[in-house]
């Protein structure tokens, strides 16, 4: 009986105790030990028609890598994943498995297998024991410029390098990694892990050039002039969309990007000794928008009194991270919408005026919109406000070229041929810059597809 119970329940992953989490930016989820990984791997039913594989955007052979774990072949297990996913240690940590692979897990009488934790275990094992760099194909003499060093760009570069092409990645910021570096906080994805994954990409022969803004320092035309055979644009969706309400430019009001950029990229949490970039976050913090969980958790680590997320329907995030945020004291206030921000005489924000929302009449399709409830306006006093709504792509790359790249008017995404992700002759695009803000794994998937198309293109031309 006891054995059955053990098999029904997921082996839980050790985590930092809440008090300790709030004192540091160290990673919260500590990862499986070898015993724990073996115990969790033992729960896998090894289905013959595994739905988990189908649900994974990269179709990683999940039962097979779990089988390799059971056999103690951790390196082989990691290599099995790497065949499909060039960033297993990242995906093991940040993928919303509950909505992807684990959702397809047929272990229906018990918890689904914690596939993410197992992926992370083997990936970390591999990184610690030394990644075996696969043999790359002999050089084709062709080169590809990859714009943006986030998940999409790094994947394209990795895949092209394996095929024997020379890939050069251009990054606007001073550190490569894109959203993995500037967007996702240390306590969810340690920068050490991202750096190790980037080292792996470099070992394949990929060149990474930081501090180059394609569209400014160099244009796409320059890249072709320099002899690149094709260009991939993977610049993500990094521009903040403001709310368009009064008071948004008061002091103490941050966009989510600025807040996270200061902490994640510039290490403002280590100000003033180990970083010279300050951040001003204090008192009560109002986070306006569903994408604010990372910011709320970061604010609590910086010692604020309260961090409350005001949003409409659903907080964006992985189930585990939302749970951890709530454990750490993040407050949630659903069905609300900000109306305006009110400042003091020195132009610092002091109050947020919000209105409660209620379900309106269903429209013809049966969709129920949330509408303001008259008379339900209320004030929340806050010394720091973070605007955490959606992000849109930066058009800096596509707009500054003579090549005809089409940009969607409404959401600024690059319009591509859905078949092969081509945006203009020899120019391909993928990831958030095409789809709008989505997920790391979808960007990796797009990167893989783009690499196939680019390979076909440069082999022909």
């Amino acid at each position: 009986m006891q054995k059955l119970e053990v098999r029904l329940k997921q082996v839980s992953m050790p985590e930092l105790p809440v008090e300790e989490r709030l004192r540091t930016f160290n990673e919260v989820a500590l990862g499986y030990s070898e015993e724990q990984a073996l115990a969790e791997a033992a729960r896998c039913l090894q289905c013959t028609r595994p739905l988990c594989v189908e649900m994974c955007p990269l179709h990683i052979d999940i039962p097979e890598f779990i089988k390799l774990i059971r056999l103690g072949n951790y390196t082989e297990a990691a290599e099995k994943i790497r065949q499909k996913n060039c960033m297993p240690s990242v995906c093991g940590r940040v993928c919303p498995q509950e909505a992807l692979c684990a959702m397809g897990c047929k272990n229906t009488i018990g918890d689904p297998i914690n596939i993410g934790a197992l992926e992370r275990f083997v990936a970390d094992w591999e990184l610690e024991t030394g990644v075996r760099v696969p043999e790359v194909a002999p050089s084709t003499g062709k080169s590809v410029a990859v714009v943006g060093s986030g998940p999409a760009g790094l994947t394209v570069a990795t895949e092209l390098a394996k095929m024997g092409h020379h890939a050069v990645v251009f990054e606007a910021l001073h550190e490569p990694g894109g959203v993995l570096i500037y967007g996702i906080p240390e306590f969810r994805l340690p920068k050490r892990v991202v750096k190790q994954e980037i080292d792996y990409v470099k070992k394949l022969g990929v060149e990474i050039k930081t501090n180059i803004i394609v569209g400014k320092t160099l244009t796409i035309d320059d890249l072709f002039d320099e002899g690149f055979n094709a260009v991939f644009i993977g610049t993500g969706a990094g521009l903040p969309k403001l709310l368009g309400i009064p008071g948004e430019s008061l002091c103490g009001v941050y966009s989510l990007n600025e807040f996270l950029l200061r902490i994640n990229l510039m290490k403002a949490n280590l100000f003033p000794y180990k970083s010279k970039t300050p951040i001003k976050v204090r008192g009560r913090v109002a986070i306006l928008g569903a994408r604010g969980m990372d910011a709320a958790r970061a604010a609590l680590r910086l010692g604020v009194d309260e961090a409350c997320i005001f949003y409409q329907r659903k907080v964006v995030g992985r189930a585990d991270d939302i749970r951890r945020g709530l454990e750490e004291g993040v407050k949630l206030y659903p069905s609300t919408k900000p109306i305006r921000l009110i400042g003091d005489e020195k132009r610092w924000v002091k109050l947020v005026e919000l209105v409660k929302l209620k379900p309106g009449q269903p429209d013809r399709t049966g969709k129920v919109k949330l509408i303001p409830e008259p008379g339900s306006e209320f004030l929340y006093s806050a010394e720091t406000v973070i605007i955490a709504t959606e992000h849109i792509p930066n058009t800096i790359v596509a707009a500054n070229t003579t090549r005809n790249i089409k940009i969607a008017k409404k959401n600024k995404t690059i319009i591509v041929n859905q078949e092969n992700l081509e945006a203009a002759n020899g120019i391909f695009a993928g990831g958030d810059v095409v789809s709008g803000a989505a997920s790391v794994i979808k960007a990796i998937e797009a990167g893989k597809r783009a690499a196939q198309s680019i390979n076909a293109y440069i082999t022909k031309h």
Binding site: H174, N211, I213, K216, G252, K267, K276, K280, R347
Partner: protein, 279 residues
């Protein structure tokens, strides 16, 4: 070597000029644009206006005042040292008018940025009147260079140690009151100066452009740290500017935002000084 300092000069107390090897930036730079740099691994990203560039020898020239800990660190670099990170050119280029009578105003360290604009305006065939001002004579930089690019040059110091005693804005006002007319006034300097110039030219309906030195992090439009309300709408100085129509800028908001981290800046400066004392 890229990002290497190949020339350094002290223009005034705490005001330094450096020439840096940056061939890619030198090739693309245009009037009014800027770069962002980091002095070292844990340094801030600091925006600095491009004062000059030479695509042939692949260099750019920057002028800065050692106002905070990061600019002090930059000032401590010597010829042969390499700047950790340097990126650009950023921002929209300035619009250079044609066949116009323009007045270019600069104060303090920003005289360097004003000079770069004045030079381009002169080269484009405009009639250039320049007003450069500083607290005292020793802080007046680019005086001789300005002479070469202006049809008329006014020098103003707060204490009267050089040129007229008083403020640039008072001089501009008296010029306008005495019937002088300009098609364009271009001002760069502290927020208070730009605001007062804007207020002076507004009743005369003279098109006035200011170059804003907002705080920035990435400089590519990602963070919105540099946002400023222009004509009632939030604009990002890094991608929509740095030049804006002065009569539409909310200067009070601009001034509040650039001073957001004053306390923190003082703190790092104090720590840096204590470190130096101890060592």
């Amino acid at each position: 070597m890229e990002n290497e300092i190949i020339f350094k000069e002290e223009l005034a107390p705490e005001v330094k000029l450096i020439k840096v090897r940056a061939p890619l930036i030198a090739r693309k730079a245009k009037t009014g644009q800027f770069v962002i740099l980091r002095v070292n691994e844990d340094g801030e990203r600091i925006p600095l206006t491009l004062i000059d560039w030479d695509p042939k020898d692949g260099t750019i020239t920057l002028v800065f005042k050692e106002a905070g800990a990061s600019t002090k660190e930059l000032g401590n670099l010597e010829v042969g040292d390499v700047i950790h990170d340097l990126v650009g050119p950023l921002g929209k280029p300035s619009e250079i008018p044609l066949h116009s009578k323009v007045c270019v105003i600069g104060r303090g360290v920003a005289i360097a940025a004003a000079y770069e604009r004045a030079k381009k305006m002169k080269e484009a065939g405009n009639n250039v009147t320049a007003i450069i001002s500083a607290r005292t004579a020793e802080q007046l930089i680019f005086k001789d260079q300005f002479r070469k690019v202006s049809d008329k040059l006014y020098i103003v110091t707060d204490d009267g140690s050089d040129g007229v005693k008083g403020y640039a804005n008072d001089l501009l006002r008296s010029l306008l009151e005495s019937g002088e007319r300009f098609d364009l006034v271009y001002a760069v300097g502290a927020a208070t100066l730009m605001k007062s110039i804007s207020e002076t030219t507004k009743p005369h309906k003279i098109k006035t452009i200011v170059s804003l030195n907002s705080l920035m992090v990435d400089g590519t439009g990602m963070c919105g740290c540099c946002r400023v309300t222009v004509a009632g709408k939030p604009m990002f100085t890094c991608v929509d500017g740095p030049d804006f129509d002065a009569h539409l800028v909310d200067f009070d908001e601009f001034r509040a935002r650039i001073h957001m981290y004053n306390e923190e800046e003082k703190l790092v400066l104090k720590i840096a000084e204590e470190c130096r004392c101890r060592s």
